[in-house]
Symmetry: C2
Subunit: 144 residues, 2 copies
């Protein structure tokens, strides 16, 4: 129920931003919005084909790239080869990543890492953001 509301918010927001809505784009947006884990492009494609079998891989990549440019989705680089897509771009958060299976969860640490980087460690850079990635084993991978 809540998810449906959130989902239509996303679609509404995209439409309002002038994003031309097509069946394919809607499906990609819905797939991302319905998940709380961070999917790879291929996982998005698999889930999208379940709803819209004719959708093409290229279209999924296009839509993901556009959502990233619009700032609605975050691209997360992992040690895996595949990037993952984080639909929770509107709220600041960081990531907890299982080094065995690649699962990613959003986490909210305390403290402000930006404040922890003194000027003397900025080397003339204009620093605009931080990402914090915790690594470990998820419950499933710990036991098996």
């Amino acid at each position: 129920m809540v998810r449906l509301v959130v989902m239509s918010d996303l679609l509404e927001r995209l439409r309002g931003r002038g994003w031309r809505m097509t069946a394919q784009r809607r499906v990609v947006a819905e797939v991302l919005d319905g998940e709380h884990v961070h999917l790879t492009a291929d996982e998005v494609y698999t889930r999208a084909t379940a709803r819209l079998p004719e959708i093409s891989r290229a279209t999924v990549y296009n839509a993901l790239g556009e959502l990233v440019s619009l700032g609605e989705v975050l691209e997360v680089a992992t040690d895996d080869r595949a990037k993952r897509y984080d639909p929770n771009a509107h709220r600041p958060h960081h990531h907890l990543l299982c080094s065995r299976c690649g699962t990613i969860r959003d986490v909210h640490p305390t403290g402000d890492p930006l404040a922890d980087l003194p000027d003397s460690e900025r080397f003339g850079f204009t620093v605009s953001g931080v990402e914090v990635t915790y690594r470990g084993l998820c419950p499933d991978c710990t036991t098996t």
Copy 2:
């Protein structure tokens, strides 16, 4: 001068750890150790061929993978497609990355991000490490 000492330390350490030493492995280790920027596998390969023209790409990948497993080198995932290799694994540090040109610098923020992740935000994971990546524009890219 200092670099030569450090380099032989690395080779010594690897030998002591039972790492079978070959011309190819020595060259890869030397290339990494001689650089203060973080190279891609391909850049390592290029520099390695300068010293040992017959070395194969597969060997470079093998050696890099082994150095990573041994904990002597850190694998850094960037937004680029290629991973980068950070030979400074023995000292804890984080990264400052130019979002325009991809340059990476090592930085040493204050504070302990591991302490900033409460149990309630660990979701049953066994957390073993953190990486902090600051993003911004380097001095060169700020002005141009």
